[in-house]
């Protein structure tokens, strides 16, 4: 007569079918992984002092594992510091946590109305983890600097450069062929049908030091074989440096490349990217001004080569009408930064907007935050974030909330029902 609830029966079916998953659904694994996550956060926070936020993020969170050295300032540090300690990285812990939760979902949870709240809560947590993974993989952060009265229609990445070849022969439009940093890191020969030459990447580095040598002195290092362009005429020596991940870090990426017309070599060039924009080169040293545009003439066309922050062109532009900054009275502490802009969209549509702290402009999947401002030089800088998975955390939170509400309400109702029945019985 007694009939097992449907949920229990399906659970036992699932446990039979996915028996191999049962060991992975162990709660002890969950607790271990959560404990390791706390250790990871602690270690990465300490490491921010050494490598900055971006460095700690790349080294510990966006990796399978990181190597940590016990700080010398801590007790026994002088002995323990030389020993490398592997720390499980964010990708490893996140992946394992998702797997552990999924295994629990399948082999331990009852899929019944009574337990639906628990399922919603865990589904929400899984979504949070997956959403974070997707954010790390897909989120792009860029900057847009606009001078007052000017319009901009492109973004520049905070990190990552591109080797751009620009044909400016046509007075109205320029043809751009850009090799992103990933290709520069790979090296090798690259072609594009729009380019009249092949590009052989000989060396790339994310950061370097450079100085101009006296004319008689020969350069060494990456620029040794360079026989064309600014690096050769200014007799610049390039010394590779590791990438600086700190928030104040200025990375001067460099690339050495040769161009070929068929099999004939056109020469070897080098280029350096200025982290604040290549227009700064001319102000640092007039000799180096051409690093913003090293002319290459071939087949009656004028091409320019430059290594610059990776660009993304937009189908719309933003014009800066004015800027305002306010400070707390009697202090230099900023109270408000504000940019008045006109967003010029397709089909001659436009709208005015104010962008200020905590009130960004959202348009076409991108969010423009007020980032920096220079009142004296009359320019503003927006931090532009594109995150296709930005809705996932909100959905996840809604799921967890529904789950908690369901679970507590279910128990409350059951308790109240039982209580009223008991009262009726006693009366």
């Amino acid at each position: 007569m007694s009939q097992k609830p449907k949920g229990i029966s399906s659970l036992s079916e699932r446990r039979k079918r996915f028996a191999w998953l049962i060991p992975f659904a162990d709660l002890r694994i969950t607790l271990t992984l959560l404990s390791l996550s706390m250790i990871l956060i602690f270690v990465a926070t300490l490491e921010q002092v050494r490598v900055g936020i971006r460095g700690a993020q790349a080294e510990f969170f966006e990796s399978m594992y990181g190597i940590w050295h016990y700080p010398t300032q801590f007790w026994g540090g002088e002995y323990l510091n030389p020993m490398p300690i592997p720390i499980p990285g964010g990708y490893l812990l996140g992946g394992l946590l998702i797997f552990n939760l999924l295994a629990a979902f399948i082999t331990r949870f009852q899929w019944s109305g009574k337990k639906m709240g628990i399922q919603f809560i865990h589904l929400g947590i899984i979504m949070l983890l997956v959403g974070q993974l997707a954010t790390q993989a897909m989120q792009e952060e860029s900057r847009m600097q606009i001078d007052k009265g000017e319009s901009k229609n492109y973004l520049e990445r905070f990190h990552g450069v591109e080797l751009a070849f620009i044909d400016v022969t046509n007075p109205n439009t320029e043809q751009v062929v850009a090799l992103p940093q990933e290709l520069l890191e790979q090296g090798g020969i690259h072609y594009a049908k729009e380019l009249p030459f092949k590009v052989k990447v000989l060396e790339f580095g994310p950061n370097c030091e450079f100085n101009s040598l006296p004319p008689a002195q020969k350069t060494s290092g990456p620029a040794k074989g360079v026989n064309r362009g600014v690096i050769q005429t200014a007799n610049l020596e390039i010394r590779p440096k590791p990438e600086d991940f700190s928030s104040e870090g200025m990375n001067f990426g460099y690339v050495v490349f040769a161009l070929f017309d068929g099999k004939e070599s056109l020469g070897t060039w080098a280029a350096i990217s200025h982290p604040a924009g290549n227009h700064w080169w001319a102000q640092i040293n007039p000799k180096m001004g051409d690093l913003a545009f090293q002319p290459i003439r071939t087949n009656g066309r004028l091409w320019g080569a430059t290594l610059r922050p990776q660009r993304e062109y937009l189908p719309y532009s933003i014009e800066l009408l004015g800027i305002a900054n306010e400070f707390y009275q009697g202090t230099d502490i900023p109270f408000n930064f504000e940019s008045e802009i006109v967003l010029k969209m397709e089909e001659n549509q436009s709208r005015r907007a104010l962008v200020y702290m905590n009130t960004p402009l959202r348009h076409a999947g991108k969010t423009f935050y007020q980032y920096q401002m220079n009142k004296a030089a009359d320019y503003t800088v927006f931090q532009v974030v594109r995150n296709p998975s930005w809705l996932v955390p909100y959905i996840a939170c809604v799921l967890v909330s529904i789950g908690l509400l369901w679970q507590f309400s279910f128990h409350l109702l059951r308790f109240l029902t039982k209580n009223s029945k008991a009262n009726l019985a006693s009366s």
Partner: protein
Amino acid sequence: MYRNFSWTRFLSALFCMGLFSCGENAEIQSYTAPNHYEGPVVAWELPDQWGENPGMGGIMAGSFHIKTDDGPQGRIGVMPFRDSVETSQVVNMFARELGHRDYNQSTVDQVLQKKELGGRSFELIRLEDKASEEETQRTALLALHRQDGQTWLFPFIANKKLVNEQLDNFYAFLSSTTLRAGKTPVRAVAPSLPPAQPASSPHQPTWETPPHWERKPSTQMRIGNYAVTNDAGDSLDFSITSFPGQVGGILANVNRWLGQVGIEATDEEGLKQYLSDRTVDEKPAKLVLAESEDQALYAAILFHKGRSWFLKLMGERSLAQTEKENFLRLVDSFCLGDH
């Protein structure tokens, strides 16, 4: 069937999407954008027999040679000038070099021809060195094009035979050029640079260099170009340059050099401490010897027949002191070759 659409499948798919479908393959990006380039646009198509000279700098936008069986010969240049300069100014820059008298606008008109090339008007002036043999006669064929307040000069300097042989190529080159003034001004205000002396010139100066001085390629500015280094990494730069006129005189030039070695500029009176008399190629010249804490400048200045000649050694003081005798021997060996 409904049971087959299980949460496990859905979550597995979500998990796999999260893990594996987020990466993007890097590829070359090609696109067009509004042209923001503000510099001058100069482009050309080179004839097959021509080659480009590397290490171009200064005011030259382009510099070429002609490939011959005897190696690179002749020199063709592209020089933009910021102002619409007088044709006579440009012509005199080369005329003095070839032993001609100064031209004025009316005398220039007598040697000037206008030619339509590639739908544009060019002024052509041909100057020949009367002092040399017919076949090896040094010839300067100057082409000028004026556009948007700028003047573009294309000097073709070679011996007469080569200029005649390459005339069609020169015209084809001029026809192929794309010239567009930029929003930012070009560097040269007015003509000031003499053409480099071709190797076949009978007036080629000569000098003797120590064997350990490393010869570097001549440039538009430098007739002689050498590097001197030692094992400690110290270096010296030696150059021989020549310009029409006195290019500011001794004081202006010495003050410029003193600044380069970290010594304060001086006046006529103070100049005497650095200057001494010396005879170069049987002609009176000046010797400049100046040393700062770590840098040194040794130079010889010779003014002769409307031209100035500078022989200049500059660099690390200790190495310069070691090489001082070699420098003085070189100065003594210098011969203009015009006698």
